[in-house]
Amino acid sequence: MSAATENDPIALSTPLSAETCASLRAGDSVLLSGAVFTARDMAHRRMFEALRRGLPLPVDLSVSTLFYAAPSPTPAGRVIGSIGPTTSYRMDAFTPALLEHGLKAMIGKGNRSPEVIDAIRNAGAVYFGAIGGIAALLSQCVTDVELVAYEDLGPEAIRKLTVVNLPLIVINDAQGGDLYRAEQEKWRIL
């Protein structure tokens, strides 16, 4: 198993290829640059409904990295307000369907369901963890913001963020690896 802090971070740019996603391993530290798309609870519900009805989606899942996030409003003179990951399990009900339609990379925080971990492995996808509660710091990684869809959802709208060196760590990989489980077991005192 790879130990994240003993490895130098891997610099990656989006769109992430299928090969890149499948090659990452739980514990890899990543500095991600390029476009990522914010989508959380309501945006997932809408995309899920659109897929069920055979309607087009506002983003091309096969080349998009989804970031479970909704920023605080942008103060004057800044690119974005504070931004960081929300808890991912709330997206679990929708995630297998999105993975079946080509999604390869997600950014969030917290545990995924066994069904999602299986779906990630089957799809050769990757689930990155970002640290929760450091949103002022992470906002410094964002260089551009563009509204893409679902403007009526306010903070929950889909936005295209351009990020530079967003610090992430691979939690669940295409081999079924699970960093939370592995690291927590290592430190648990029975």
Partner: protein, 284 residues
Amino acid sequence: MTNLIRDIDAATITKAVYELFIEANTCLGDDVRASLEQALLKEASAIGRDVLSKILDNARIARQEALPICQDTGLAVVFVELGQDVRITGGDLRAAVEEGVRRAYEAGCLRKSVCDPLSRENTQDNTPAVIHFNIIPGNSLAITAMPKGGGSENMSRAAMLTPSAGIEGIKKFVLDTVSLAGANPCPPIIVGLGIGGSLEAACLLAKKALLRPVGTPHPTDQRLAGLEKELEEAINTLGIGPGGLGGQVTALAVHADMMPCHIASLPVAVNIQCHVARHVRKIL
């Protein structure tokens, strides 16, 4: 001693609530910072130390740049301690508090995170707040602003245990709750524990326990102070660690409080607080 009736203008209350919510959301309390610095010294996991360093860096950046510490600027929980010899002039007390919340979230660029629970439609101004009124002696008015994030609140639980479950049942419920929460509530967490009363009283005890400076033992009850220490140590053997990425510091503290309950009941509530523990109090 008799207190003179004192007039407090509704506009003064609105201004105080406005300032408190902006301060709470941008300036991490000294107690939380000190506790995180201690955690950084204690933590043996390298990933855990990296997470704690970033949390401390983030707090500095937020304060310097007047940015929210976390993008989830919370549901606005407000505790109002109203002296019985205070008269509110120029408006309604509840409306004055709501207006302060509304202005803070708009002018302070704080995220509006409140919605209709069924339609999920955003109310657009982060109201209504959850306001707890308490009548106290005297003619002062104290307001506590507590923006509470959804991620940690979602991992909180209450149970109506049987009296036979006893203290062991309480400990098990706390440890199970923290284990189930895992990485989700942004550890290191602070655990608010309410024991006794009724269902809602236990929940409120747990929430109010989170208002104590982090790591302050229960001030009057040695049994509770001992239980807090024991639970903190037990939680920190679970291995969850900072960010859930493994380590020795899963909880910064456990804060417990209790009150008598029905002979048939043993209510227990665990309110989980993320590491962005925000609460500020002002006395008018």
